[in-house]
């Protein structure tokens, strides 16, 4: 990935983060988890998925299994022109379907979620159907690391491996936290990659905030070998806002509008410095 493209994605991700932040007031949202997967969704939707529009019959399918990070999905789709931003202005308004978890009637949501551990199996059904059709369309499931506590996830890993669904990617947003604290304190997952591998998945790891690294992992030709894929993306919960990053108590956030304004400044400040430096490098 060249530096200009990297810069484009970082700017896009910055706009996505600003938009995510707007969900964290007037009733709030799961801010930390949304910020941790923002770069993953930006990368997938703008670089990797075949996604001409939310209704294109040949589009790749992305299932957001950890549904509480839906602001990241809505923000990404809005920034890329797949979802009318006006719809997001009415966060939590009854009847408009923009709430704390994804609603399948919102353009771009392939399936609703919220109850953890469901979409790996739903994605198996979709991926199996695409195999039957000899389709090249791909299926990605975004999972939280806390979500891996659910037994149904491991059941689905076994089945996906057994059915050789190599058109299926399980992307784990490994931000290290679940609702009440670090995953390794609540129900330790490590050694995670070894576990996933033992379940029959082709496992790779990446820095989940580094677009070049993500491109290397998702673009690798070595991935096509009859096994479903697992990508463990190391991320930071709350990424982009230092006062929130990796704080155990920043799970569900509902800030006042003044607080949001100062968080936005914090987000702009950090990103501006970074983007400026990189722009200089590119020049």
């Amino acid at each position: 990935m060249n530096e200009n493209e990297k810069l484009r994605l970082e700017r896009l991700a910055q706009s996505v983060r600003v938009r995510i932040l707007s969900f964290a007031t007037d009733g709030g949202c799961f801010l930390g988890a949304s910020l941790s997967c923002a770069d993953l969704l930006v990368f997938l939707y703008s670089r990797w998925l075949h996604y001409p529009s939310s209704r294109d019959p040949e589009r790749d399918l992305l299932f957001l299994s950890k549904g509480h990070d839906v602001p990241a999905l809505y923000a990404t789709l809005a920034e890329l022109g797949h979802l009318d931003p006006a719809r997001l202005a009415h966060h939590l308004e009854p009847g408009l379907q923009i709430y704390w978890h994804p609603h399948r009637r919102v353009p771009g949501v392939e399936f609703h979620s919220g109850s953890l551990g469901h979409l790996p199996s739903v994605a198996i059904g979709a991926a199996y159907d695409l195999k039957l059709r000899r389709s090249c369309r791909r299926v990605v499931v975004v999972l939280g690391d806390g979500e891996l506590n659910e037994g149904s996830v491991w059941e689905a890993f076994l089945v996906a491996g057994a059915k050789r669904l190599d058109n299926l990617w399980f992307l784990v947003d490994r931000n290290g936290f679940q609702a009440n604290g670090p995953t390794e304190q609540i129900l330790p997952l490590e050694p995670l990659e070894e576990k996933l591998s033992a379940f029959g998945l082709h496992v790779s790891r990446s820095d989940g905030h580094d677009f070049s690294a993500l491109e290397d992992v998702f673009g690798s030709e070595a991935l096509k070998e009859g096994r479903p894929h697992a990508v463990v993306a190391r991320t930071v919960r709350g990424k982009g806002i230092p006062s929130i990053e990796s704080r155990a108590d920043r799970w569900f956030c509902n800030f006042t509008r003044d607080e949001i304004e100062s968080l936005r400044e914090e987000l702009r400040g950090g990103a501006a410095a970074r983007l400026e430096t990189e722009a200089l490098v590119v020049r």
């Binding site: 109850s115 551990g117 199996s121 739903v122 059904g125 199996y128 037994g151 149904s152 089945v159």
Partner: protein, 307 residues
Amino acid sequence: MIESYEDRLFRLAREDDRILVLTAENRAPIRGLPERLGDRFLDVGIAEQTLVGAAAGLALQGRIPIAHALASFLTMRAFEFIRTDVAIPHLPVKLVGSAAGILSEANGPTHQALEDVALMRSVPGVEVFCPADAEDLVLALPAIVASPAPAYIRLNLRPPALTHDEPFEIGRAEFVERGSDILILCAGALLREALEASRRLASGGLSIGLINVRSVEPLDEGPILDAVRSAAMTVVIEDHFRTGGLATVLADLLLSKGETAAVLPISFPARWFEPALLSRAIEAAGLDGPQLAGRIRTAWRDRRRTT
């Protein structure tokens, strides 16, 4: 006997390539289908949650998945997947529960699905069918598969209790006998016993009506209510807990109309039944034909004495 369940399912799948047959390693009723259907047969192993989730994913892609598992594990272990992944988006997933009710025979309480109908009825938009026997099931299959709604079907491969002359329609009951003294409403596998009881009672001079309530949700409300109104006493026979089964369905119906009726509910009380081979299990539960006739006759006499 017209055709086996497996043959009918195969014929439907051959005619419509949207149909896939799934199972959580419950192959007894569909033993020959892996070979006959190839990759349109999907066995996920003993994994009911994944079975239901994968069925939802297939339906999302335009398929009609027909998913098999033991009734107790399908409706209870995977309940939330049914509710969340199948019912919320109202996908046409057809859930087939084996060994439901009395048909779990000698398996014991772990396998006794005596609340499956209650659970499935409680999920919005799910159609619930209790075929009376193998022929009733096969007759029902095309309509159930053609419906755009999610469905739960109690798999019942008992030999035909009678020749089913009335074509199957979703939301329609089969009127087997008409009579004015006692009306018997039966949902599911005990129709054979209910029929024997009705014949015994009829030979004793009583006028007995018998309805095979094949379709529990939606229910054939109008004709059933008319039959209940015109009978002096109604008997409900079901191999299900009293709570949430046909007796409750009838109570809800009467309540919604502000009506009452003299009803003898013959359901399982709130405990599990004695495991045994089918005929012994039926007998031990007091549900064979002569026992049913006796229970109904006693209730009829008690009622005559008090009115």
